[in-house]
Amino acid sequence: MTLLALADVTKSFGGVTAVGGLSFTVRPRHVVGLMGPNGAGKTTIINLISGLLHPDAGTIRLGGQPVTRARPHEIAGGGLARTYQNVRLISGMTALEQVIVGSYLRRGTSLLASILHLPAARAAARATRADAMDLLARVGMADRADTLAETLSYGEQRRIEIARALASQPKLLLLDEPTAGMNAAESAEIGRLVHALRDDGLTVLMVEHNMRLVADFCEHVVVMNFGRKIAEGPPAACIADPAVQEAYFGKQRDAQRHRA
């Protein structure tokens, strides 16, 4: 039983192979970490899964359906939501509106009803608003609902982005470095939120290159370097893997030579 399956996925930019023959699967209700040093191809993978890029070779399946050539909005419709490495909120919108955009797929009313301001459209809009408020409360941002999101702190913007991703009620959530730029307490809070979401039935694939956070957050880890998988398994075993140690810290004898 898998929710997401990548098989032999390859993507090159010009002559550079960003992802080379990568295969891995994500099981439902798991928190899976995608780890690797800078330039390993982690964000490329996230962009391939969400449909912003298409692989040169290989297949991607979401919930059993092939989505290799699907467009991003179709993949989102299939139950995928994501956040970005550099927070990408919409300029000019309040925190609440950001989350309402995320609930587009569950709008529940027609264009004509909206133009005519019919009671059904107003009721649907009220329900959307209430759901968005609940999500803001869930990430601890309810008191900032009517604040212009771009005026909030980086950590607050990250939490709004997660609430926005949750608004479509996805099956799979892709988090691209959710704790970048956060301090230890804020990171731990994100970790608790991710675990609570998993307990509610959500599956999470998160890019993270902070080893300690991966060890704390994830049940399963895929480690990449130069676009290839170098290790996969439980976090502790992966981090102890010599290949992973080498990718992150260089070769042992290099270190010894430096010391000498």
Binding site: P72, G77, S91, G92, T94, V101, Y104, S114
Partner: protein
Amino acid sequence: MMDIVEDLWAAYASTLGFAMVNAFFALATYATLSAGILSFGAVTFGAAGGFLGAQMVLHSTVPLPLIFLAAGLAGAVVSLLVAMIFLRLESHWMALASLALVLITRVVVLNTPDLTGGVNGLSIPQPLPLEWLAGLLVVTVGAFYALDRSWYGIAARAVREDTSVATCMGIDPRRIQLIAMGISGFVGGLGGVMMALMLQFVSPDTFFIHVAFTMIAGVVLGGSHHWFGPVLGAAVFTALPTVMQAFIPEMQDIGNGAALLLIMIFLPRGLLDPRAMRLRRARK
């Protein structure tokens, strides 16, 4: 003394009428701009509505409300046809293509005299009741207000500000932009028939570059991020020449230009800017 007052009223009553007609065109432009499309297409949609409306007045006994509806639908049909071709283009090429469309429209109007009266145009023996113009404008603005608050309005803003993020939230940008073009077509078609009845005359020059200029300037002036911006901008832009004429006739053009420049420099996002209002609120 009484004569002067009456003259002023006569001048300003027609200015008010044209401000409302221009508001339709500005709203039609805002409809596409708010979904990330810079398009001059409303001129063409206006021509479709204007000439159809003129022909209906001349050759049928259809009541005015139905003529308005037909003109709006004619604009919408043309806009959707145009959208199917143009939405394949990148945004700046789309803007250029829509400008080319305005030029093509004039050539087509000139060369189909049976439909449009050709170079002589068509005289329309039917004045436009101002209450109809005002009433329909209020209804249209109300619809824009409702749309702005709806899922569509919020999705359109997302497409305009960051298309890539919008698609990852399940929004199909082509669908949103197709809807935007349809709305622009309907409102542009309405503007066209209003213009025709207001002038009681349509010719190839009725729907040409000056309309495109007025409507774009109106939207920029009023604010392209707020549903009321285009109405305000169209009003200011229509009134400005008249006011300048009354006070400093010898420097009218200079005054117009200077006023526009000042607004562009100090209010680049227009007179009404929801983002700036929210920033001010946040600072308090």
